[in-house]
């Protein structure tokens, strides 16, 4: 009786969770970069930012188990370092703004600090669903994404932005604005990068 029950549940489980759900792709961990290692760098006051786009489809396949450019996204590794010895800065991912020459409609978003930045589709949740339906790949994209963080003195934050780009043809220059807020003075430092 017990064996029949187990066999029945295994059968139902196979129907509910079909084998088409993959056993899981392998992800090569992206090597950690310092700002000085990145192709694009910029400084503003105490804040130093580096960006490294992952353009090669082979690299995208290795790190994310999917070719993202053909799905209209460019993964860009970002590292933000606080070089102050006394002040802390708040990095709020939702305030990161991007624009490129081909971007038609650019919406306005109000940040928590009251500043206005032009902004469009900052990857994230929407990017993950557009890029793939495979749950393991989505979870890896989520875990690799840069997230909001307090940058205490000497602390850095690292991770990927998934930037929308044209699926075909050469992409134009992408301008990224990264604002950080001094937690003591509330002063905003905006670092501009061109990728």
């Amino acid at each position: 009786m017990r064996n029949r029950l187990i066999a029945l549940s295994a059968g139902i489980a196979t129907l509910i969770f079909p084998a088409s759900i993959s056993a899981g792709p392998k992800f090569t961990p992206y090597p950690e970069h310092k700002v000085s290692d990145c192709a694009v760098k910029a400084d503003k006051g105490d804040i130093s930012v580096g960006a490294q786009p992952v353009e090669d489809p082979k690299d995208q396949k290795a790190y994310f188990a999917t070719e993202m450019t053909e799905k209209g996204y460019l993964p860009v590794y970002l590292v933000i370092e606080n070089r102050s010895s006394a002040d802390s800065y708040l990095f709020d991912k939702s305030n990161v703004a991007m624009a490129d020459a081909s971007a038609g409609a650019v919406s306005e978003a109000r940040s928590k600090t009251g500043e206005k930045f032009a902004m469009f589709g900052v990857g994230g949740i929407f990017a993950m669903r557009a890029i793939t339906s495979a749950t393991a790949v989505q979870e890896n994209l989520l875990k690799s994404e840069i997230q909001s963080k307090t940058l205490s003195p000497g602390v850095s934050v690292k991770g990927f932005l998934y930037i929308p780009i044209p699926k075909e043809g050469a992409r134009g220059e992408i301008h990224v604005q990264i604002p950080v807020v001094n937690s003591r003075t509330s002063e905003i430092q905006v670092v501009n990068l061109t990728i």
Binding site: S9, A10, I12, A13, I16, F17, P18, A19, S20, I21, S22, A23, G24, S88, L90, F91, D92, K93, K112, T113, G124, I125, M128, S133, T135, A136, Q138, E139, L142, K143, Q147, S148, K149, T150, S152, V181, S183, S186
Partner: protein, 201 residues
């Protein structure tokens, strides 16, 4: 003969236990100094919207699953976060935190869940919560995004529901426990409770 074999295998078992488990216990004893709660009156804001958050993963009609992360977070987070402060009050609206020195607001960023083909395969759940701390004036003093993770069997047709419930509980608890460690280590939050520096005469 049987006795000597029995003794031999018993000896190996004891040796394996000593080699594997004792160092783990010792290393566990050496680390982990007792952490201190932050001397602050804090409020934890768990809004009805936050508590109602559900995330759906997978394809509708094939393998879609619903993770009740909000309901679980509103049941599990308060007792965990309470250990980070000398006083913690739960409110459902930040405007109700009038007497507290610090207002702590969690927000779901996203949930990631892998799916496996077999009932006994381990699957992983990741719950990302963005924690924002504001002082009495409403100024943001600290922000941190924390990945709470948990692993559990996928489950079969009978155990799947219970496994989903438990994996969500484990991931939310992991997130809350990591948040406590970050709060206690944060110099920015410690400054909120510190007396203002005396001006030089």
């Amino acid at each position: 003969m049987v006795n000597s074999e029995y003794r031999f295998f018993s000896l190996i078992a004891v040796a394996l236990f000593v080699l594997c488990c004792l160092p783990m216990k010792l290393s566990g004893q050496a680390a982990q100094p007792a952490s201190q709660p932050v001397s602050l009156k804090a409020a934890l804001v768990l809004t009805p919207e936050f508590c109602a958050t559900k995330t759906k993963k997978g394809t509708w009609g094939i393998n879609q699953e619903t993770f009740p992360v909000g309901k679980t977070a509103c049941e599990e987070l308060e007792p965990i976060i309470k250990t980070a402060f000398t006083s913690l009050t739960r409110v459902d609206d930040p405007a109700k935190a009038t007497d507290e020195q610090l207002v702590l607001i969690p927000k779901f960023v996203d949930v990631g869940a892998t799916q496996k083909a077999f009932a006994f395969s381990n699957r992983e759940l990741t719950v990302l919560i963005e924690w924002t701390a504001r002082d009495k004036s409403g100024k943001t003093v600290w922000i941190e995004t924390i990945q709470g993770t948990a692993k559990r069997h996928m489950g079969n047709a009978f155990t799947h529901g219970s496994n989903v419930k438990h994996i969500v509980e484990d991931a939310v608890k992991d997130d809350g426990e990591q948040a406590v460690a970050k709060i206690e280590a944060s110099p920015e939050i410690a400054k909120v409770g510190a007396p203002p520096p005396k001006s030089a005469e």
